[in-house]
């Protein structure tokens, strides 16, 4: 499998980046991180901060990292990135798609600084690199486990906002649950928030009352896990290993592992070989990882899940492989056809079989 897609590489950026680092060979390379949440969220930002710490440890005194947390999208983010640039940062990492317009504006003013934008889609300057994780690969795996382990054949899904990232996850989970269990039904509840513990807990409760015996979530708090633990429903962790919040029912978790990517990119900047890219890494690159499987998962299901992880990781299998229809029954992918990244990145439809509508 082609692990890295070089969608936008500019010779000019290469040259500029090389000059930028060359001039500063002696002092440590400065990397600034702009976080959308607090590192203490135990979810998305926690994952990024763990990776930052891992990179810091990897490079030791050759690299100096710093961060600003809870940065709102918009003018505040723009100012913080500019100030980081002025403070002598060589690389700036921003972790939310909403930083896009600001980040590109700052990048245009500081052509020597390498900008790494997680989950973004705008690339308006040669020194803006985009990276994201194929979390849907992880969703395919937990979808398979869920499909095997549900006894009520009803899976609940707590979703945040109707954006492609979330819709992709829902589709991937459903397709693979359905594959191993044709009777499976998926109930999606939209809470219109990334982080609202009280509402997420209520959503988990509602899903369990509707007969769901497995709860998946694409929101950041651990509240649904606690509800699941109490009510005896099975569940999965989000972004990090959340076993301790639901030791009996936490089957596994999709772990965001950004460390290999950060280390590689910082190394490139140190070497003067950094160039803007647009990469979307998954299980194969180790960016999407899993928490240890709970013993409750039967051995044969564990085997099946591991085989799927292996197949996706090696590139032998793509979670969006035809035949697949859209929800309205119209054809999407023919037999054996694989979804292209463009469609996946902008995914705004459910696949056939999912009931309910995407709000908005």
């Amino acid at each position: 499998m082609k692990r890295r897609e070089l969608l936008a590489t500019s010779a000019a950026a290469l040259g500029l980046a090389a000059v930028g680092t060359g001039a500063r060979a002696q002092s440590p390379l400065k990397v600034g991180f702009v976080y959308i949440g607090p590192p203490g969220d135990f979810g998305y930002t926690y994952g990024h901060d763990q990776a930052r710490l891992a990179a810091q440890e990897h490079f030791g005194s050759a690299v100096e990292t710093s961060y600003v947390e809870n940065v709102p999208e918009g003018p505040d983010a723009e100012r913080i990135m500019t100030q980081m640039a002025l403070s002598g940062a060589d690389m700036i990492v921003a972790t939310s798609f909403g930083y896009g317009p600001s980040l590109n504006a700052v990048a245009q003013r500081f052509p020597n600084i390498a900008f790494e934008h997680a989950t973004g889609y705008l690339q308006e300057a040669p020194n803006v690199s985009l990276f994201s994780a194929r979390f849907y690969e992880g969703r395919a795996v937990i979808g398979t486990i869920a499909g095997r382990m549900t006894t009520s054949n009803k899976i609940g899904y707590i979703a945040s906002f109707p954006i492609p990232e979330v819709i992709r996850g829902i589709n991937a989970a459903y397709i693979h649950a359905k594959k191993v269990n044709p009777d499976v039904e998926l109930s999606v509840v939209w809470v219109f928030s990334w982080f609202d513990p009280a509402q997420e807990a209520a959503a988990a409760q509602a899903l369990i009352e509707q007969g769901c015996d497995i709860i998946m979530q694409h929101t950041d708090s651990t509240a649904p896990l606690s509800v699941a633990q109490e009510r005896g429903a099975l569940t999965f962790g989000q972004a990090s290993d959340m076993t301790q919040f639901a030791p009996d029912v936490h089957l596994t978790a999709i772990i965001d592992n950004w460390a290999p990517y950060y280390i590689e990119r910082i190394q490139a900047k140190l070497d003067g070989t950094w160039a803007a890219e647009n990469v979307w890494l998954g299980i194969g690159a180790g960016e999407v990882a899993f928490a240890p499987f709970n013993d409750r998962i039967p051995a044969e299901v564990q085997e099946e899940a591991n085989a799927l992880i292996e197949a996706i990781g090696s590139g032998a299998y793509h979670p969006f492989t035809g035949p697949l229809n859209k929800q309205d029954g119209s054809a999407w992918l023919a037999e054996g056809e694989i979804a292209d990244d463009g469609t996946l990145l902008g995914m705004s439809f459910y696949v056939e079989g999912i009931t309910g509508e995407i709000p908005g």
């Binding site: 109930s187 509840v189 513990p197």
Partner: protein, 310 residues
């Protein structure tokens, strides 16, 4: 995919739990506002209670000590507001907002070492066979202690406000602090005590989130619950039992819309989320326009500073 799939008994039981944190905070703020003080710092006091309760519960491995700590912490942090507004005559709106800002930051600092920890479990009260009764069992006899505390608190506040001398003094102070002062009531002292009570209740509400509802500590975890509590007091037109009804209605709307979604109904979530506030405004209009019911309008001195001349 039909309404029949939503079990009203379980719905009621879960909305009671969803409503408890905002009810606790609201009943405290209700007393504060009845005394003529508008404290917009509910969110800041809730989150302070949430972190203090969590920290003590984790350290002692006893959730009840945590709740007690949350009460104390909420009351203590509310004293910042009390000193500013009652002794130093600062503006209440600005002081309340400053308290929220401070509380959010302060709690995040205190809580740094408590991220990712699981607090001791708060058990449900044991009612023996009563829990297994149909309908009433799940609704009445299957909750943790704070659900009952919140209801008891509503009853106590209602009784105290209406049938005790202290309650009458408090209402007099809130209605018209100049006349209350002329009658010899200690306006400032009454208000400071009310603010402390409000802080204690908000703190307990915060601890309900961090110890029972979620249970976990994350900064900013109250996620606006304090602001909902403020709206709730208005919705209740400053009457304790209505605060209970309102909290269950607010909680109910949230739980019901999630249940409807889970049952497969297509509902415009983003617009439905506005409905509690629109309803609250309508209630407010009806209350204040009906002259015969003026007693239900806002306390006369709400938000105004009192300084005893002389």
């Amino acid at each position: 995919m039909d309404f029949g799939s939503i079990n009203p008994v379980i719905l009621i039981a879960s909305l009671m739990v969803a409503a408890t944190p905002i009810l606790l905070a609201a009943i405290g703020e209700l007393v504060v506002e009845k005394a003529g003080v508008l404290n917009l710092g509910v969110e800041g006091m809730m989150i302070t209670g949430a972190v203090a309760g969590f920290a003590v519960a984790v350290t002692t491995q006893n959730p009840y000590l945590g709740m007690l700590a949350a009460i104390v912490a909420g009351a203590l942090v509310s004293m910042l507001f009390a000193v500013l507004t009652q002794i130093l005559m600062a503006n209440q709106v600005a002081s309340g907002l400053a308290l929220t800002l401070f509380g959010l930051g302060f709690s995040a600092l205190l809580g740094q070492s408590y991220v990712g920890i699981v607090p001791p479990r708060t058990p449900k009260l044991d009612f023996g066979p009563l829990t297994d009764l149909p309908v009433v069992g799940p609704i009445l006899f299957n909750h943790d202690i704070l659900v009952y505390v919140s209801i008891a608190l509503v009853a106590a506040v209602w009784y105290w406000l209406n049938y005790s001398r202290g309650g009458r003094v408090l209402r007099a102070v809130g209605e018209n602090h100049d006349s209350a002062h002329a009658l010899g009531y200690k306006v400032t002292r009454v208000r400071i005590l009310s603010i402390a009570f409000g802080g204690a209740c908000a703190g307990l509400g915060g601890a309900y989130l961090s110890l029972v509802r979620v249970p976990q500590w994350t900064e900013g975890m109250t996620a606006g619950a304090g602001w909902i509590a403020l709206a709730l007091v208005v919705f209740a037109s400053w009457r304790p039992w209505r605060a209970l009804a309102g909290a269950y209605l607010f909680g109910g709307i949230m739980v019901l819309q999630l249940n409807l979604q889970a049952a497969g109904f297509r509902i415009p979530v983003e617009y439905l989320a506005m409905s509690p506030y629109i309803i609250t405004i309508l209630v407010l209009v009806i209350m204040s326009s009906n002259r015969a019911r003026r007693s239900m309008a806002a306390p006369g001195s709400l938000g105004r500073s009192f300084h005893a001349a002389g």
